[in-house]
Structures are given as C-alpha cells and as structure tokens.
Symmetry: C2
Subunit: 436 residues, 2 copies
Amino acid sequence: MNKVLRVGIAGLGTVGASVVRLLHTQASDLAARTGRAIAVTGVSARDPGRNRGVDLSGVDFFADPVALARSEDIDLFVELIGGDEGAARKSVTGALEAGKSVVTANKALLAKHGLELARLAEETHAALAFEGAVAGGIPIVKTLREGLAGNRVARVYGILNGTCNYILSRMELEGLSFAECLADAQMLGYAEADPTFDIGGFDTAHKLAILASLAFGVKLDADTIAIEGIQHISLADIEAAAELGFRIKLLGVAQRTGHGVEQRVHPTMVPLSSPIAQVMGVTNAVTVDADAVNELTLVGPGAGGMATASAVVADIADIARGIRSAPFGLPVAHLVNAEKSPMQRHEGGYYIRLAARNHIGAAGAIATRMAERGISLESIVQRRKLYGDSGADDSVVPVVLVTYATTEASVRDALAAIVADGHIAEKPQVIRIERE
Amino acid sequence: MNKVLRVGIAGLGTVGASVVRLLHTQASDLAARTGRAIAVTGVSARDPGRNRGVDLSGVDFFADPVALARSEDIDLFVELIGGDEGAARKSVTGALEAGKSVVTANKALLAKHGLELARLAEETHAALAFEGAVAGGIPIVKTLREGLAGNRVARVYGILNGTCNYILSRMELEGLSFAECLADAQMLGYAEADPTFDIGGFDTAHKLAILASLAFGVKLDADTIAIEGIQHISLADIEAAAELGFRIKLLGVAQRTGHGVEQRVHPTMVPLSSPIAQVMGVTNAVTVDADAVNELTLVGPGAGGMATASAVVADIADIARGIRSAPFGLPVAHLVNAEKSPMQRHEGGYYIRLAARNHIGAAGAIATRMAERGISLESIVQRRKLYGDSGADDSVVPVVLVTYATTEASVRDALAAIVADGHIAEKPQVIRIERE
C-alpha cells in the first residue's frame, strides 16, 4: 500500500460536504480500488463553525484557501469555491505552482483560464481534473479524453443546463408560459435570483468550451461560441414543435465543418424520436458522433451536490491511482486555435414562425422570398386561412415554415426581405433544427 | 517521448482489421494523447494471405497466436480470436505469464476464466483490459471501474444483446412474429445460424457477469445468473405491453438485495417513458443506479467492427499512458463470492398472460388464487367477456394481469393453483416488470 493521499478541500457547500461524505463512506472501497488510503487533511470555508453534517474532526481548518492550496500537508487540492477569478483562480494556480494535483468542478474558471492552468499543470507535472465541471455526474470528460481516444469526433452536443431543460420541459408538459416556469424554477432553487447566466445560455457555453477542447483538440475559448438563450421561446413554438415531430431543447453544439469547429448554444428543434429529446427535467445528456463509435449518448444528473461529488471523487481516485492524462486530452502545445465559425455560415434546417398580416398575397410573397434564396420548404403550417371570404383585414395569422438544409445567411436575408415587404407584424422567430 | 508501444494482434476479423485501421489513422493523435507511439508489430490470423483492406507491410506474421503472445517483440497482446478455451485462453494466459499487458473483447473467455486471468495479471503486474467485451463501443467498463469509483452501486441493468433488441423492436414496430424477425436477423447477419447463444440470453449473461463483478465487487461467476431468453415472447405480449404502458426488452439485471447480489437475464417489461425503453434496433444501453450519481444511462452501438475497435483502441491508449487499474476494479483478494440469489426470492411486479377457458367462475377463481397469496393486482385486462350470454363454452379468452410488487415464489405458487383449477388452456406467460 502506497502512502496516504492527503486531500485539501476549499469550499464546503453542498458539493464540498458531499465530497467529504463520500470519501468517508467509501473509504475502504476507494483504498482497495486505488491502492492507497485517501484522507481529507485540510479544509477551507467561509464559516468554520457551520454544521455541515459531516465529520471534520482532526481536519485542519484554513481561513485562506490559497494557504491550504500551497500547504505542505496536502498532496491534492480540491477547488469548490466557484467564480472565475479571486480565491478560486489564486488557489488553483497556487496548488499547481506547488506541484500539487488539482480537482475542480469550476466551469467558469476553466472556460476563462483553463488553457493557462493546463499549461501550468504540465510544467509542474501536476494533474488537473474537472469531471464535475461539465454535466455533473455524467462521466463525459473521461469518455472524451480516454474512452473515445481512438475516434475522430465529428460532433458533440448536449443538454448541459438543467435549469433550462426544466423550464422547457414544464412549458411543454403543463402548457405554462416561460415566465411562470422560470418563477417555479427559482422557487425550487433550480434557478438563481438573476437567472441570466443559466437561461441566457452562458453556463451552457462554459461547458461547451470544455467539451469542444476535449473533442476537437482546440484551445479553450468561450469567446468563439455563438450564444442564444431560451428567454424568447414561447408556448406557441413548443406546441408547433410537437406538431412537427420535434421538441425544443437548449443545446450546446460543437461540430467540425469545412470552415473550422463551429461552437454554438441556442434553442434547438430535435426530432422527438432522438435520445436527447427524451431527456426531461433537470437531467443532462451529451451525444458524441464519432467515426468509430458512431453515436454515443450519456444521460444523467447535471447538477446536485451528490452527483457532482461523484465526479469529484472519481477524479480524486484517478489521481490516487496515478492516472495522469493531459487535462484537455492533448498536451497544450498540440491544441490548435479555435476559429470562430460565423453563424452566418451555419448550415442546417430552420423552423421559422411568422406573424403574417392578413393581406392578400402575403403567403405567396413569403414563399417567393424564400425561393429567391434557393431555400426549399419542407412544410408550411398556417393556423387559419391567410385571407377569409371577406378579403384582407388587420388580423395577424401565425405561419410556421420548416426549411430543408440551407445557410443561416440565406434565412436571415430572406427574412429581412419578408419584413421589408411589410407582411409581418412581429419579429420572426427562428429556431435551428439539429438532426441525428 | 517514451519508447514505442509494440502491439501484437491475434485475430484479424472485422474487429481486428478495424483496430489496425484506427491505430493507423489515429496514430499521430494517439501518440500526442499517450506520450508514445503505438505500432502494430505482429499479427496472427488463420489466413495470412487474405486481403483485409489494411496495410500490414513490415508486420511480423505468426502462425501460432501463443507464440505471438509470448514474443519478445511485443509489449501488449490484443486477443480477438474468440471462444472460451483453445487459442484464445492459451494466448491470453501466455501473454500475462510473460508479463505482457492484454486487451481482449472476448466476453465468453472472461465470463468463464476472468477471475483466474485477473489473478494472473496481478501476479505479473500486467494490465488486463476488456472494454470491448461488454456493450461494444459503450465505455461502461471504464465508467463502472473509474467514473463511478465514489459510488455504491445499487443496480446495473441493460440491453446487452443487439440481436434480441433488433428482434423485439421489429416485432413491435412491424407486427411480425418472433420467427419472422429471427429469420430476417439471420439474413442481415445480426444472428448466427444457431441463434441459441443470443436469443437464449447466454450472451447477455456473459456480459452481465462482467458488469456485476465491476459494479458489486463480486467474483465473476456466470453460473450464478438466472437466464431466460426471448424465444417465448409472442406478439400478444408485445401488444399487451404497449397497451399497459410498457415495452418488452431482454435485460441483464444485477442488483443488491437483502440476500446478496441478484443476477438475472430475462425478457422484461420496462416503462415506456424510461430511457432504456427508447433504445431500439441493434443499439445497446446500460443504466447504473448508484447512491451518489443516482441514475446514469449510456446508449450506443453494442457490436460492429468499428464500435468494438473503438473500445479496444481506448484500452490500448490507457495502457500506453500507463494506466493500471485492477481488471475488475478491486484487487482479486477483495472480490467476494457471488451467491446465487434464487429467482424464487425475486421481488417485483409481474405481467401474467393467461389463456383462460370460458368457464363460469374462471375470472373469480384466478383473482382468488392471487389474493390467497397476498398478491395485489394493479390491472386486469380481458379481451372478451369471460362467459357470454349463452353461458360457458369451449373457447379460450386471453386475460392479462399486472401485479404490484410481490415475490416470484408467490406468483409461481398462485399460477400452479390456477392451473390445477383447470381454468387455463395453455402454460401461463410470465414477464417480470423492471421499474426505474
């Protein structure tokens, strides 16, 4: 049996306390699996006195997480403080500089400074592991970094934010508005008081940046990601999607294209029959399309103290066993720049919902504008007839178009022309379609 | 850069040729990921001259796989011969005895001799890896061994045989008989000329034995598994399942119970809304219920040359990186005996389809026999009235019962009494229900 692995944990919120609990309850099994005992020897938290329901007797308490990170008395530093600067960044940097391995679940820190931290870890031969940073308990980091090592990945996409998926699921299942579902999510603790980070797609983008780096060997760069949130999704869209055989999910998608790796976060129409469409509530899912494995989907809890702790403890166990992989799969020197693939060049099908004025000739004009840009329509659904027996009037008629594969530029151009024609009463709603 | 990892491959069928191809096409990426070049330096196959569409120039050919396994010129032996004795067993044993790491996708060999091979690998400090042996391209071995290291697993279950899932899916989707679907599966190459191994559940049992060992730390013992195949599933069952909100899948299930780890393979009613119910065709899926992660499901290709090769190459890459985990997660000395948990003690819900004679009092007698054993019925569906206006006759009426949780012993006992009552024209059909 090798010597004890001494673990220091900074941040004792729900995840941190769960990590302490799992390391306790699974201690003998973990020792057998890894060949060495794993002991929490130091912790740092804002309130040392708070009862967290875990036994911290004999554990050193550090007021300063950076001091814990650099302490001679730990071998491995677990950062669960959160935030992309301040104590989190300083303590992780400090631990790596001191040659100590780091486990973190901090996606914001990684999305912003992951490359620099990976470089530092390489220099000091320390491990930097972050399974818990993406999709909570789902082992997608290990799967991309190790499990699919023999594959060339074509696309990775997923439901990476439980709050958004909870809201979209409830809107569909209960016919509620976005605002009502958001309020419930806040009440249940699934959404923050300021929900922008989740519903605006920024949390998903942080996770996608990490997945894209692992899948495609590109340098982590959250600024290369095109981001749209779910705040403009209406019940009308959700109902139209169901009728057309789709379901709306907020997806993070990274895929190889002829012009670099496209990275984007937006509400997406996915076929009702796809595995990802079945994922409801706060559950997360990630699908990888790759040349050898074809299609692999992982479904599991995307958040929660115990699920994230499961990932953190797996990272700790790997480090105890001596596993050292490059943090992003490839050594930093092999990672290439991620070019921002402009959304205008995105190719795919589109769902378009228009509020058409009840003018004679409106339907024809809309279809003509699409045809002029070479856009083929897979379907047109019009809720009421565009002009009645009594001729044109001032009412507004919803028209839903589904296009075959085309480019974003063509769609935007056609919609600009349709708006200019004066047949549209509201800003068109555009949702991209993602097929298996 | 460390020295080259020299790989010897025995068996150049579709998987073997795909492994050679992936090691070629992914060579530079694999070298960057693992820190060393990986080269195929020796192969062994029945027909040295056959064109396999892969470049084997400069690779030594061995007529005898055991000679390749023991050769001084390889560091890692890949066994893709198949079979649980003979050349496969001898060559794997030979390689491990010589201290060489082994990668295999041979579930039959592992189910029968896995424990002895793991012990040998421990003695000679060699790696023994077998991701490809269970669920093809799905990284479930790595997930159980490493990704869920912090969890106590309560249950692992899955669709582990693509042939059976293809047959059950087609029966449902096209309303065809078992025999018709089996014939098609044979024509498409999904099923062997003698399909017993697949449809009888034995292939699933081999894979389940491996999963159970990894999940629960029990000694691999395929003899402890209760096995039923899908050969007696009729279209009537599939249609009744759909009406009741279920779908029939052949599952391998291993779960902790009050009396040891229960391991069983049988056709199973799963709720239509569960992730595993969505898995159609030759696709495989595995769900793990565990204390920290709660529920995790992996869905992907269960067979096929490239998918299995993806798993084999991931194992090779891990070994190149120096990753050494105990083959079954825990060292052999820590694995405990798997006691055979008798199916009579199984607890769960049951679907029962009876061909009731059109006797006055039959329905009441059936219900009474169930009630006498304390079995509560969740539903009774009777296709036609049990006795018509004209009184009893000789016709037979299908009656479908769904029970609440009870024991297998109670169900079998009640059915024996019902049969003895003389109200039943055919052997009762019994299918266990597995809930999320």
